[in-house]
Amino acid sequence: MNCKQFIGQLDDYVDGSLPPEESRAVEIHSAGCDDCNQALNAHRELLAALRGMPAPAMRPGFAAQALLGAARRRRSYGFAAGFGTAVAAGLAIWLVVGGLLPATKPAGDGDISKVVLRLDQESTVNIAFFAPKQFEHARLSILLPENLEIPSLPGQREIAWDVTLQEGANVVPLPLRAIKHASGHIVASIESGNQKKVFEVQVQVLSGEQSRIGPGPRPVV
């Protein structure tokens, strides 16, 4: 066995998948070649470090919470995860901003809910879509009125991305900042195949102390 052959068999050797006679050949070569012996030790060191990579223990109570939550929640992983949110974090944000909730239930096109925001204040508006069944490969588009912007995407009024629409509630946590004292509509559309549904959320921007939602908070579970 030469050095090139040794290197070629190193993975199989350390993984224990070489036949005995080939393993023996690797060991004989390693014993007589300082370079390859060092390479073998380095390889073992790397694999040992990989095997020992730390991972956190589960948060106490998470398993029970997740299992019980599975029975209750009909939430949309796709939408929420699209924004990098966890279940708990998403709910926390929801609560922190005072329960802004323009629930747009697809009872029919033109279904309108109302959001009232305060000028220059950032808020997360959770838009919930309710789907009667799962739609894969759907396209979600959101068009903002000129009095709103997404803080991370200033100046961009239209965003669109691919989603999987789950049966039940699908939540889009939309971070918004009111930049003009005016009214307008957020227009959200879902397109899947040749089907398309358009929803509108009326937005009013006030300079007063409070912002609130028209119909009141609605749990998305």
Binding site: C3, K4, I7, D11, D12, D15, C36, Q38, A39, N41, A42, H43, E45, L46, L47, A49, L50, R51, G52, M53, P54, A55, P56, M58, R59, F62, A63, A64, A66, L67, G69, A70, A71, R73, R74, R75, Y77, F79, A81, G82, F83, G84, T85, A86, A88, A89, A92, I93, V96, T124, I150, P151, S152, L153, I159, W161, D162, T164, L174, P175
Partner: protein, 192 residues
Amino acid sequence: MKIGLFSRFKSAAQPSFEELLAPHVEQLYRLAFRYCGTQHDAEDLVQDLLVKLYPKHQELLLLDKLGPWLVRSLYHLYIDAYRRQRRSPLEYGMDESLEVSADLDRPDYQLEYTELQREIQAALDKMSEEHRILLIMHDIEAYSLPELEGILEVPIGTLKSRLHRGRNRLKDLLKKGTINEGQALFIMQGAR
């Protein structure tokens, strides 16, 4: 009353969803953490898997080997849904928002890595998903190639060559001297 009795009988005869899945949640979480890199996203991924599985309780009861099936389901969920959704144009904006509610006691902030493991983690983050996942499952989580053949639905021969390339890529990404002098020898001898 009859319903109550029937429910207890049914419970004794068949494990509930919670009873069936509870023994597997920790392993699923651990894998999800490996995939996602944070406790927060790992919890999200596991929660979503459970939400999806809940309506399939009866089907799960029929599986011979639930553990590997769950691992495969988690993997597909991560690949098919999570990664695609992460391309949302709002991702970064929401991440900034989440920092406000982040739990500073999150375990992933407190993990004790050796210097080499920090370098490895940084290198893994730069690797292709194909290689990264395989190294995570084989070299970190110790799944065997036959197990991974079933989980990843890739032939063993392909997995072996992919593992070999993945390890070489990892070595390439690690800084010179991180492992020890032998690392340079890998590169030199591999070129012979």
